[in-house]
């Protein structure tokens, strides 16, 4: 007989509660159709009170076969699908895709075309960040900020509309060039828009940045250390928020970014506040880039001088038979732009990070010249997929309410996430 036998057993020491008084974890589904989930995504959470102890993310609700569609459409037709990848900054997707194809074709744009693309990219980036910051502010209850920011985005879109004739799905580039030259007075309007955007940013800065409610909701929430962020494949403003100065525009310069003077903003800790501040600062930097582009933009042709890629001038198409034949040749079924066999990966800096296109051209059985008029495979490296994949890591052990700012700062875009 040991001397502990007189003690009650452990079972007896725990009082038995009625089932409804026992502490239980609660399962809560957030999404797919939930106001905080702009875009559709489902987060299954296990809650202890308001704390999230475990979570799982399910995506794919907006899978609409981007890659398959691109395989079945010609090189230029596929641009419409890239529009709808990151629909907040469609022009960047257009540029990324077209530059990847141009890399495969081995052609380069004349400077004016490159400047036009740069301008479009940066205007889109401002729009993207305005939407992202505005939407996450709205979800935090700051509806006025959202309205101001969308007002600013509306000005950016006015520019885009004037250039390419659409607001969201821009079709702003073609393989081997851009569809139009800049309209008259567009550059002046650019400067006006930048002025407006800066005003709006200053106002929203007052409304948010030093506000204790906002700071406390963002600070030290969704923390992501730099090494972990890299291992998870984060890029863009989120990675820079963690303090890694990686920006495709600086590190793998394309277009004319290396000829311009601008800075890469980086954060300190890698929390939501840093990501917010990085985005705010990036908008300022984009404004600077646009100003320099407006000052520096040269004259000259906008499309590359390659008759096998670029559509002839409309005057030639209408007027002479060579132009017409060239035109037919580029559009007719089975002809089109012939891209030789090969594979390329081309990254650009999208609104959310490194937007890479891995494009494979591979002749099919009908091909005689070893080229193909459509892509064999178009793979989009979605910038926001790593962040969303990592979402459980940055929302676990925080409260339900923290999903909102964290998810907002991740800036999930359904189109590019699910493709």
């Amino acid at each position: 007989m040991s001397n502990t036998d007189h003690l009650p057993t452990l079972d007896a020491a725990v009082p038995t509660y009625e089932p409804e008084f026992q502490q239980k974890e609660m399962l809560l589904n957030i999404g797919p159709a939930h106001p905080a989930m702009h875009g559709i995504i489902r987060i299954q959470t296990k809650l202890e009170g308001e704390l999230i102890v475990e979570s799982d993310v399910e995506i794919g609700y907006l899978h609409r076969a981007f890659e398959k569609s691109c395989e079945e459409s010609t090189w230029n037709q596929a641009i419409i699908y890239t529009d709808r990848l990151n629909y907040v900054s469609a022009a960047i997707n257009n540029v990324g895709y077209c530059m990847a194809v141009e890399k495969l074709l081995g052609i380069e744009l004349p400077p004016r075309g490159q400047y036009i693309r740069t301008l479009l990219c940066e205007i889109s980036r401002i729009g993207d960040h305005l939407t992202c910051v505005g939407a996450s502010a709205m979800e935090l209850g700051g509806f006025t900020v959202f309205l101001y920011m969308i007002k600013g985005r509306e000005y950016c879109w006015e520019l885009i509309e004037e250039y390419c004739g659409a607001r969201v799905t821009t079709m702003a580039t073609r393989v081997g060039g851009v569809p139009h030259d800049l309209p008259e007075g567009w550059l002046d309007k650019c400067l006006w828009v930048i002025k407006e955007v800066r005003e709006i940013l200053a106002e929203c800065d007052i409304l948010l940045t030093n506000n204790r409610i906002f700071v406390e909701r963002m600070e030290n929430v969704g923390l992501m250390p730099a090494e972990k962020a890299i291992a998870w494949g984060w890029t863009g403003p989120c990675l820079r928020g963690s303090g890694v100065a990686y920006d495709v525009r600086k590190d793998f310069p394309y277009l004319v970014y290396d000829q311009l003077d601008w800075e890469v903003p980086v954060g300190r800790r890698g929390d939501n506040l840093d990501r917010y501040l990085v985005r705010m600062e990036e908008m300022e930097q984009s404004c600077r880039i646009i100003e320099q582009c407006v000052a520096k933009i040269p004259g000259g042709p906008i499309n590359c001088d390659n008759k096998r890629v670029t559509l002839p001038d409309k005057k030639d198409t209408y007027g002479n038979i060579e132009g017409l034949m060239n035109h037919f040749k580029l559009i007719m079924y089975g002809h089109g732009i012939r891209v030789p066999e090969g594979e390329v990966y081309f990254p650009v800096e999208g609104g959310n990070g490194e937007l890479g296109f891995y494009i494979v051209s591979h002749p099919d059985e009908h091909s005689k010249d070893g080229c193909n008029d459509r892509a064999w495979r178009v793979r989009c490296r979605p910038p926001c997929l790593p962040m969303v994949a990592c979402l459980p890591e940055i929302i676990n052990d925080y409260m339900i309410a923290d999903i909102v700012p964290t998810f907002g700062s991740v800036n999930m875009i359904g189109g590019e996430l699910d493709r």
Binding site: M26, L28, H34, P35, A36, E50, A137, M138, E139, L140, G141, G142, F143, T144, V145, L147, Y148, K151, L207, L208, N211, I213, F214, E216, R217, M399, I400, A401, D402, I403, V404
Partner: protein, 390 residues
């Protein structure tokens, strides 16, 4: 029981047994006052829905509702609120099949009802001499009026809590839980912050508090609650806004987080919650006016009773603008309305300026930050009052 009944019958004043004309008039006056207040709150709440839309629109450079019209009358979009009300009444009333039906039915009534009762103790105008008697423009002059306000304010908690409980939905339940925790916490701050003014004015009767605010420090600073008790006001305002469950304190709804305790409500039953929020804004503006902004008083305006027959402005530098008895009364009622309007505007403006708290931060602000400040305020006020009365 017998001795007691003997006692009561002996003590009963004789006029209670006789229905006199006087009593009918009294009854009529009370009913009139109740009707006046009720209609004003309901209309006020209805109009506030419009004000909120228009105000938020103007803040964000929009126009707001302006297209609904009855026979060409648009009233700048005010008609839209009418359409909202009518639509809500005829909207399907959904009851969750596995929810608690009775509680689900009662919750909106709990949310809306007490709000109206709170207004009963707030004086909305100066006493009037009419029909040969002295009428206070206040439904109920309770000696413990402030406690009455707090008591009925806390009943509103049940509305949100029961709604969340009865809906058989996790979102609603979380919302209800948040609502109850939040409202109970801020109830306490509300009470503590009112103790300062109570000590300062030496009364708990709102009417008396209002009259105490027509005194002047050193002869020229009006002794409004907000001047003698600024910290109490700065505590009361957020606590009151938390009671209304509106941004930045709209956790119980927290639309982008958990959708809120009214998730499973539709039609007019949801409309009652909605209306309740706006009615609370009116009522809280009333309470704030009465306790912190001098009620119906205008600085340096006195009536015939206060300045022995010389109604009008008496400025400290000796200037005197005589005004008629009734002019003063009407000016004071208008002043009350104006103060109410400004405070409601303020609440709206705050709502459209601030983002939302997080749940734990809200609790922390209440218990760890506002509570000590409130207690210190009480202590200091008590000491000052003690020192002054010595």
């Amino acid at each position: 029981m017998a001795p007691q009944s003997q006692l009561t019958s002996a003590c009963k004043p004789p006029h209670l047994y006789r229905l006199t004309n006087r009593m009918f008039v009294d009854l009529g006056i009370i009913i009139g006052k109740i009707a006046f207040v009720l209609i004003n709150i309901l209309n006020g709440a209805g109009i506030l829905t419009w004000v909120e839309r228009k105000q938020s629109a103007l803040i964000s450079d929009r126009i707001g509702a302006n297209r609904a019209s009855i026979l060409g009358i648009k009233l700048l979009g005010l008609v839209n609120s009418l359409a909202d009300a009518m639509k809500l009444i005829f909207k399907e009333d959904f009851v969750p099949p596995k929810g608690l039906r009775v509680v689900h039915f009662l919750a909106p009534i709990f949310a809306l009802g007490p709000v109206f009762l709170t207004m009963a103790v707030i004086p909305f105008g100066p006493p009037v001499d009419l029909f040969g008697r002295h009428i206070k423009l206040q439904i109920l002059d309770l000696d413990i009026g402030v406690l009455f306000i707090l008591a009925f304010g806390s009943i509103a908690v049940y509305g949100a809590m029961l709604a969340g409980w009865a809906s058989n939905s996790k979102y609603a339940l979380l919302g209800g839980m948040r609502a109850s925790a939040q409202m109970i916490s801020y109830e306490i701050i509300l009470g503590l912050s009112l103790i300062g003014p109570i000590l300062a004015f030496g009364t708990m009767e709102p009417g008396a508090m209002v009259n105490a605010q027509n005194e002047y420090l050193w002869g020229w600073i009006p002794m409004w609650g907000v001047i003698v008790q600024p910290i109490a006001f700065l505590l009361f305002l957020p606590a009151a806004m938390a009671e209304t469950k509106r941004a930045p304190f709209d956790m119980p709804e927290g639309e982008s987080e958990i959708i809120g305790f009214a998730t499973e409500y539709s039609g007019m039953r949801w409309g009652m919650f909605f209306l309740g929020e706006f009615a609370e804004i009116v009522v809280l503006a009333g309470v704030m006016t009465a306790i912190f902004f001098g009620g119906y008083h205008i600085p340096f305006l006195f009536d015939a009773v206060e300045k022995t027959g010389q109604a009008g402005f008496h400025f400290p530098w000796g200037m005197y603008i005589p005004l008629g008895e009734w002019t003063v009364i009407i000016m004071r009622m208008l002043a009350f309305g104006a103060k109410l309007a400004i405070l409601m505007w303020l609440q709206m403006q705050i709502r459209w300026t601030f983002p939302r708290f997080r749940y734990d931060q809200l609790m922390r602000v209440s218990w760890k930050e506002m509570m000590p400040v409130a207690l210190v305020n009480i202590a200091i006020t008590g000491l000052v009052v003690l020192w002054l009365n010595k």
